[in-house]
């Protein structure tokens, strides 16, 4: 009986704790987003975060995309050739890349790179009193540190995903034409025939949401880090793990919303 009560109590405490964290994240997000639309806005901070997101993440996202496209082409050929459906490879590659792999893999890579850096930077600022110092200099830390990063995430990740989409399709094209013997023009015609603007649009909308989630988790965990170097390390790990999980969870939700028939 006592063990059952302990279990129920533990579950209750865990649930309440989780709800408390979700509430805190929601309030943090609302406070950050509200400061994007209400001036003043720190454009220099925004530009710095935007460059970090969009420019310095480009190589890792590009490599991820091109290899993903190559692998999809190769694997789908292996499967489809058993049913004589090799001609569907172009459509599989373009739909997979544009709808899912571009935004999701791009988002995951950016979460590992920029989300971690963001949490480490804000966490270090927190434990070295730099965030408190902002408050003493008539500067709202949420406005100065968080709002520009949230906007940078929302705008930069879709741009990265455009590049990822192009390179992912290119990866599939290279494998299909060089290794699998497809005609280049035929492959491109098939790709163009199956790619729809709505697929690209939804992929980019997903990317904007993922960019927000990456910046939000990086800022939230960094901003609230405690306890010196160990706290900063924990914040960094939490930012990457939570952003990755949220990207996958929101990918399902958004796919359900936009693509479910």
């Amino acid at each position: 009986m006592s063990a059952t009560l302990d279990l129920v109590g533990g579950l209750g405490r865990g649930t309440l704790g989780m709800l408390r964290v979700l509430g805190a994240i929601a309030l943090f997000a609302a406070a950050g987003l509200a400061r994007i639309v209400r001036p003043p806005f720190y454009w220099r901070q925004f530009w710095r975060a935007f460059v970090e997101f969009a420019f310095f993440s480009l190589p890792v996202v590009a490599l991820t995309a091109i290899f993903s496209g190559m692998v999809i082409a190769l694997q789908s050929y292996t499967g489809f050739s058993r049913f004589g459906a090799e001609s569907a490879i172009a459509s599989i590659v373009v739909l997979s890349v544009v709808r899912e792999l571009g935004p999701v893999l791009g988002g995951l890579m950016v979460a590992g790179r920029v989300g971690a850096a963001m949490a480490a930077e804000l966490g270090t600022m927190r434990v070295t009193d730099q965030i408190d110092a902002l408050g003493t200099l008539s500067t709202d830390p949420m406005r100065y540190l968080v709002a520009p990063r949230l906007l940078a995430g929302i705008l930069a990740v879709p741009l990265l995903v455009v590049v990822a989409d192009v390179l992912g399709v290119l990866g599939g094209f290279i494998i299909a034409t060089v290794k699998l013997g497809f005609s280049p023009s035929g492959y491109l015609v098939s790709t163009a025939a199956f790619m729809q603007a709505s697929d690209v649009g939804v992929g980019l909308a997903k990317a904007a949401v993922f960019g927000l989630l990456i910046a939000l988790m990086g800022c939230y965990h960094g901003y609230n880090s405690r306890g010196g170097a160990e706290g900063v390390g924990t914040a960094t790990t939490s930012a990457v793990v939570s952003a990755s999980i949220l990207i996958l969870a929101f990918d399902y939700v958004l796919s359900e919303m936009f693509f479910a028939r």
Partner: protein, 262 residues
Amino acid sequence: MNTPATPRISVRGLRKAFGDKQVLGGVDLDVMPGTSMVVIGGSGTGKSVLLKCILGLVEPDAGSIRIDGEDLLTASRAERARSRARIGMLFQNGALFDSLPVWENVAFGLLAEPASRRPSRQAARQRAGEILGQVGLSASVGDLSPAELSGGMQKRVGLARAIAAQPDMLFFDEPTTGLDPIMGAVIDGLIVDCVKRLGSTAIAITHDMASATRIGDRAAMLHQGRIVWEGPAGDVMTSGNPLVDQFTHGRREGPIRMALRR
């Protein structure tokens, strides 16, 4: 209404707990205009929390904080921001923004002013050079990043940043911690000069008795979340209060140790 008898800063019954730990248990403290108050006390007695409560960085659980007679805790957000904008703060480790060069750290408060009062970046840079000169650094230091500075230089830059907006209140959180005695004396001298030049009211918290007597006009000791002694800073070594005597003379035996054992 501010009269000569009105303290610039008045704290009454200030309480703050973190979880089960009561850090401030009803602090009463007055600081008169133009005077420097040094708050001494052991580690973990709530000295930094007291400063952060006055600065609005930590929300107290109870009590009042008055600046020129106006209670910050019941004031509107705008009034609080206005009062707190009058305070400059030197943090224990400088708390310089490491993503910005030194000059931008110093001029940060100036560049954060509303657009109507904000100087151009060039004017702010020139002003930062002048302020760096006031703390004994050459203007060329402004081009360095905080990571390139020694501990003493970081403290000076932190002091320059604190005085840049010419605040009429200055707070110092352990200004000489981590410095050698000579550099500590230099920083104390700069603090005294800056406070005098600006005519500011100052609160400094420190463990360093030499620093306390150099900076302070008055001193108060915080112990177990309460002010247990207050008097002229020159009397701090001969206060006759057993808690203060033990702390200032660094004796192992005494009421503070006994209190820790309980």
